[in-house]
C-alpha cells in the first residue's frame, strides 16, 4: 500500500464510517478537567459542533480503525468483496487526531468502530487500546463511544465498557431473513447474545456504583444499536416491534435507524434507489412517540396502514393515530390528563408541560393556548378550550387539507 497522508487516511476512514447513524454524545456522567492533568468535560447533554449538508450533526470524530474487513455484508462499503480503497490507522494516530480536534473545539470526543481484521478478539483489542491510551496516558475526559465486536472475548468487552461512555453493537437488519441474505457472516443470535451480556455488565456496574462510590463507571451512557431501513422487506410495524423488543430486553438507550443509502461500489443485490429518508424520519417520530409521548408500541403500530403495515409518509404517525382513533378527540386542554394532552397532533412535550403549569393558575382560553404552542391552527380541530369547541372531526378527506401541506401525496396510499 502506498504511503497515505493522515488527511487521506482520515478521508477514507471517515467516509467508511458515515453510514453509522449514531453521533450522539449525550448521557455521560458530568465531569471536567479542573482537577486533572488532561483535557475534556462532559455535561450530560451532547453538543453538536457542526452540521453537514446532509442535515446530520457532527458531535464526535467518527472513524474506523480500519476499513479492511473479512466479512462480506452486502450493504457495507467495507465488505471484503468491495473495491474500495483500504486504509488503517495506528493507535497513536487516532489518539492524536482526537486530541488535536478536541483542543480546537471541533468535537465532543471519539466514536470508534472498525472493520473486522484477523480475529474478532484482535480487532476488539485494537479498539480498546485507543480508548485506554486516551483515558490513561492523556487523561482524556471527553466522550468515547466504542463499537464492540459481537464475538470478542468477554474481558475485552468489559475493558471497552470501562473506558467508554457508550458502547454499541448494530443489529444491522430488522428481520432475520434480511440479515441472512445481506450479512451472511453475521448472526442474530450472536449479536443479541452480545447485547444481553453487555446489558448485564452495565447493570452490574450500576449496582456496584450504588454500593461503593469508588467502583469504576461502566458505560454510563448505556448501549445503543442501529438497523438499516429499506434493504430488507420489513414493514414499519415489524420494525417498531423489533425496536420495542430491543429496548425492552437489552435496556437500550437508543435504536438508530439508517435509511439504506447507495454506496460506492455497491453490491449488486441491493435496491437501486435513493435512501427512504422520509420513512426513516417517520420511524424516528414513532420512536419519539414511545420514548417521550407515552404511546405503547401497539398504539404506534395501529397508526400504520392495516394493509401494508407501513406508516403513512405524508403525515406524521401522531396525526395518523389521531385520525384513526378520532373518537379520542377533541381533548379538553383544561381537564385532560398529561397522557391525553400528549396525543394532540401538533403539541410537543414542552407545550404540554406549559399547558399543565398554566392551567393551575387559570382556565385556558384559545389565546392562552396560542401563546404556548407554535401552531394553533394545526391543533384547533383537536382541542376544547374555554372559548373554543370544534365541530366533530370531519372525515379524513375533509380534515387533511387543513393539516398537511401536500394532500396530493395521499394517492400513493389510496387503496
Amino acid at each position: 500500500m502506498p504511503h497515505l497522508s493522515l488527511a487521506e487516511k482520515l478521508s477514507i476512514l471517515a467516509d467508511a464510517a458515515k453510514y453509522d447513524a449514531s453521533c450522539a454524545s449525550s448521557g455521560a456522567k458530568q465531569r471536567n478537567s479542573r482537577d486533572g492533568k488532561g483535557i475534556g468535560s462532559t455535561s450530560g447533554n451532547g453538543i453538536c459542533h457542526a452540521y453537514a449538508p446532509d442535515g446530520r450533526c457532527i458531535s464526535l470524530l467518527k472513524v474506523l480503525l480500519t476499513n479492511s474487513c473479512t466479512f462480506d455484508c452486502h450493504y457495507c462499503i467495507n465488505r471484503s468483496s468491495s473495491n474500495v480503497r483500504r486504509a488503517r490507522f495506528t493507535v497513536d494516530e487516532i489518539v492524536d487526531l482526537t486530541l488535536d480536534f478536541y483542543r480546537r473545539n471541533y468535537i465532543e470526543g471519539l466514536f470508534l468502530s472498525s472493520g473486522i481484521i484477523n480475529t474478532p478478539d484482535y480487532t476488539m483489542e485494537q479498539i480498546v487500546r485507543v480508548a485506554k491510551a486516551l483515558r490513561e496516558d492523556h487523561d482524556f475526559r471527553g466522550y468515547i463511544h466504542l463499537k464492540t465486536i459481537p464475538d470478542a472475548a468477554a474481558d475485552l468487552v468489559t475493558q471497552a465498557g470501562r473506558y467508554a461512555d457508550r458502547v454499541s453493537i448494530n443489529v444491522e437488519l430488522p428481520t432475520t431473513g434480511g440479515l441472512r441474505r445481506l450479512a451472511p457472516d453475521k448472526s442474530e443470535k450472536r449479536i443479541e447474545g452480545a447485547m444481553a451480556k453487555m446489558r448485564s455488565a452495565i447493570d452490574e456496574g450500576r449496582d456496584a456504583r450504588k454500593r461503593y462510590r469508588s467502583a469504576p463507571n461502566f458505560a454510563p451512557a448505556g448501549q445503543s444499536t442501529q438497523m438499516i431501513i429499506g434493504a430488507d422487506a420489513a414493514t414499519d410495524r415489524e420494525i417498531v416491534s423489533r425496536a420495542a423488543m430491543l429496548y425492552d430486553r437489552f435496556d437500550l438507550r437508543r435504536v438508530y435507524y439508517s435509511a439504506f443509502s447507495p454506496i460506492p461500489d455497491a453490491s449488486a443485490v441491493l435496491p437501486l434507489k435513493r435512501p427512504p429518508l422520509m420513512r426513516e424520519h417517520r420511524l424516528y417520530q414513532s420512536d419519539w412517540l414511545i420514548r417521550f409521548y407515552q404511546y405503547s408500541p401497539q398504539e404506534v403500530k395501529a397508526a400504520a396502514d392495516p394493509d401494508t403495515g407501513m406508516l403513512p409518509l405524508h403525515i406524521d404517525p401522531k396525526l395518523a393515530w389521531a385520525l384513526r382513533f378520532r373518537e379520542n378527540f377533541p381533548v379538553d386542554v383544561n381537564h385532560a390528563s398529561r397522557r391525553m394532552l400528549l396525543r394532540i397532533p401538533g403539541l410537543g412535550v414542552k407545550a404540554v408541560d406549559s399547558i399543565l403549569a398554566a392551567r393551575r393558575c387559570h382556565k385556558l382560553r384559545l389565546d392562552d393556548v396560542a401563546r404556548l404552542t407554535t401552531s394553533l391552527k394545526k391543533i384547533l380541530p383537536f382541542i376544547i378550550a374555554v372559548d373554543w369547541k370544534p365541530v366533530a372531526l370531519g372525515d379524513r378527506e375533509n380534515l387533511l387539507p387543513h393539516l398537511v401541506a401536500k394532500p396530493n401525496q395521499l394517492e400513493l396510499f389510496a387503496s
Partner: protein
C-alpha cells in the same frame, strides 16, 4: 425618574442589588431608567438612585435562575422588563409559574434566546493554535448575539483547564492562563487569525463524513444558521459539497446498475425466496397457504410478471401451474420461448380469494397489496437484471410502473421502466380463459402469442 448605572452589559449582581433596593421601596418600573457604563445620571437632570436598602425580599430561585441568563440578552429593555416582573411576582408569586402569562412569556423568550446563544458558542467556537512549546496557546474569535462571553467562560475553563487560551469577541475578551481567568477589551477578528495545519485535516474529515445521497441543506441551516458560518473553517466547503452531491449519488447508482451480480446471484435469489416466506407486508399472508415466489434462472434475459398465484399455485407453491399456467405454457411454446430460460414471477406473491362455500374464488389484489409486494418484484429485478420485462395484465403493469394503465390500448407496445429496462405489456392468460366463444378465444390467443413474439423480437435491437 431614578437612574441606575450598571457596570457592564452583563452586570447581573449590580442589577440584582439595585432591583432589590428599589423593590423594597416598591418603586414602580416606569420610574426607573437603567443604564450601562460610566454615564452620569444628571444628563437630563435626573437623580441617580443611591439609596441602598438591604432589606431582604423573598423571590423564588426560579426567578433568579431566569433573570441571571435573561439579563445577558442584547435587548436594552431587559433590565426594566425583569424589574417589572420582579415587582409583579412580589405581589403575585404564582404568576411566575404561569407560562401563558404575557410578561413571563416575554422574559422566557429572552432566556431561551440567551441559552441558545450560549449553546451555539460552545458548539461553533473554533480555536486556532498559535506558538509552540511554552508559548503554545489557543485563540478563538466568536461573535455572540448576546452578552454571554463572560458567563460562558467557566464552561471553557472546565473543559480546557490545561490549555492556555483566549476567546476574543467584539464585545470583550477573556483569557485563561492555565490557572487564572482574566478579562480584556473588545477585539478585532484578525487578532485571532492564524495558520493552523490541523484545520485542513478537520476540513478533510468534514467533507468525508457527508453522505451525498442524503442531501438536506435545510436541516443543516436550521441548526447551523449562516450567521455562524464566517468563523467556522469547514463551512467554506459547503457550496461545493452541495453542488457535487447529486452527481456523486448518480455515479454511485450508475456504477451499481452496471455491476454484474456475478456468481452469488443464484444464492441471493434463493435467500430472497427464503426471506419472502415470512413476508408480512400485507394481510394476504394470513389466509394464503404459502408465499409463491418467482422461478427461473437468476441471470435470465427475460422476466415475465403475472398477477398473483391462483388456487393451484397456492397449494403447489409454484408459479403458473394452474389452468392459466397451461395457457401460458402453450403460448410460450407457440411463440418459441423456452420457459426454462425465462424468470417467471407474479406481482403479488400471495393468493387473494373469497370463500364461497368450500371454493376459494380468485379476488383481484388491491393497490395497497400491489404496492406492498412491489418490494419483492423490485428485488427480483435487481438481482436478475433482465433485458426485457413482460407485464401480463393490469396488476403487473401497476407493480412495474406504479401507475394504472389500460392494458387494452397499451398492449403490444414497449415502454421504459424507471431504471431503463424495456418492458412490454400484454394481457394476462387468465383473461383468455374467461372468453366464452371458442372463436373469440382462438383470436385472443393468437394475439397474445403475437405480443410475446414481438416482445422477444424487440430484444435484438437491445443487444
Amino acid at each position: 425618574m431614578r437612574v441606575i448605572c450598571l457596570d457592564a452589559e452583563d452586570d447581573f449582581e449590580g442589577w440584582r442589588r439595585a432591583a432589590r433596593s428599589l423593590a423594597t421601596r416598591r418603586v414602580p418600573a416606569h420610574e426607573v431608567l437603567w443604564r450601562v457604563g460610566d454615564q452620569s445620571g444628571d444628563l437630563f437632570g435626573r437623580t441617580v438612585d443611591e439609596a441602598n436598602s438591604t432589606a431582604p425580599i423573598a423571590v423564588s430561585r426560579d426567578f433568579l435562575a431566569l433573570s441571571r441568563l435573561a439579563i445577558l440578552h442584547r435587548d436594552p429593555e431587559r433590565f426594566s422588563l425583569l424589574y417589572a416582573l420582579l415587582l409583579r411576582i412580589l405581589d403575585e408569586p404564582y404568576s411566575l409559574h404561569n407560562p401563558a402569562d404575557r410578561q413571563v412569556r416575554r422574559v422566557e423568550a429572552l432566556h431561551r434566546s440567551v441559552r441558545r446563544d450560549i449553546h451555539k458558542m460552545r458548539a461553533f467556537l473554533r480555536f486556532r493554535e498559535a506558538g509552540e512549546g511554552e508559548m503554545r496557546r489557543f485563540v478563538a474569535w466568536f461573535e455572540p448575539e448576546h452578552h454571554i462571553v463572560r458567563a460562558n467562560g467557566a464552561f471553557f475553563v472546565e473543559r480546557f483547564t490545561n490549555m492556555r487560551w483566549s476567546i476574543l469577541s467584539p464585545k470583550g475578551s477573556i483569557h485563561w492562563s492555565g490557572s487564572t481567568l482574566s478579562e480584556g477589551p473588545a477585539a478585532q477578528r484578525n487578532e485571532a487569525m492564524g495558520d493552523d495545519p490541523v484545520e485542513a485535516v478537520w476540513k478533510a474529515y468534514y467533507a468525508a463524513i457527508f453522505n451525498p445521497a442524503r442531501l438536506m441543506p435545510d436541516a443543516m441551516l436550521k441548526e447551523m444558521p449562516k450567521k455562524y458560518w464566517k468563523n467556522m473553517p469547514e463551512t467554506a466547503l459547503i457550496p461545493s459539497m452541495i453542488a457535487g452531491a447529486r452527481e456523486r449519488e448518480r455515479g454511485m447508482l450508475e456504477e451499481t446498475r452496471t455491476a454484474p451480480v456475478g456468481k452469488h446471484g443464484a444464492e441471493t435469489i434463493e435467500r430472497l425466496r427464503e426471506e419472502a416466506r415470512s413476508c408480512r407486508r400485507c394481510p394476504l399472508w394470513r389466509p394464503a397457504t404459502q408465499t409463491v415466489f418467482g422461478e427461473g434462472p437468476h441471470d435470465a434475459k427475460i422476466m415475465i410478471v403475472g398477477e398473483q398465484p391462483g388456487d393451484q399455485e397456492d397449494r403447489a407453491g409454484k408459479v403458473f401451474v394452474g389452468p392459466a399456467g397451461r395457457v401460458f405454457d402453450r403460448a410460450l411454446l407457440a411463440a418459441g420461448i423456452d420457459r426454462a430460460g425465462v424468470y417467471v414471477t407474479n406481482a403479488v406473491k400471495h393468493f387473494k380469494f373469497e370463500l364461497r362455500g368450500k371454493r376459494r374464488i380468485h379476488a383481484r389484489p388491491g393497490a395497497g397489496e400491489i404496492e406492498a409486494c412491489r418490494w419483492w418484484v423490485d428485488q427480483e429485478r435487481a438481482i436478475v437484471r433482465p433485458k426485457l420485462v413482460i407485464a401480463m395484465g393490469a396488476t403487473a403493469v401497476r407493480a412495474l410502473t406504479g401507475r394504472t394503465m389500460p392494458v387494452g390500448s397499451a398492449r403490444g407496445k414497449s415502454l421504459t421502466l424507471g431504471d431503463g429496462t424495456r418492458a412490454w405489456i400484454t394481457v394476462h392468460p387468465s383473461y383468455l380463459l374467461r372468453l366464452s366463444s371458442p372463436a373469440e378465444a382462438e383470436g385472443a390467443f393468437s394475439q397474445y402469442v403475437a405480443d410475446l413474439r414481438a416482445a422477444v423480437a424487440s430484444m435484438t435491437d437491445i443487444d
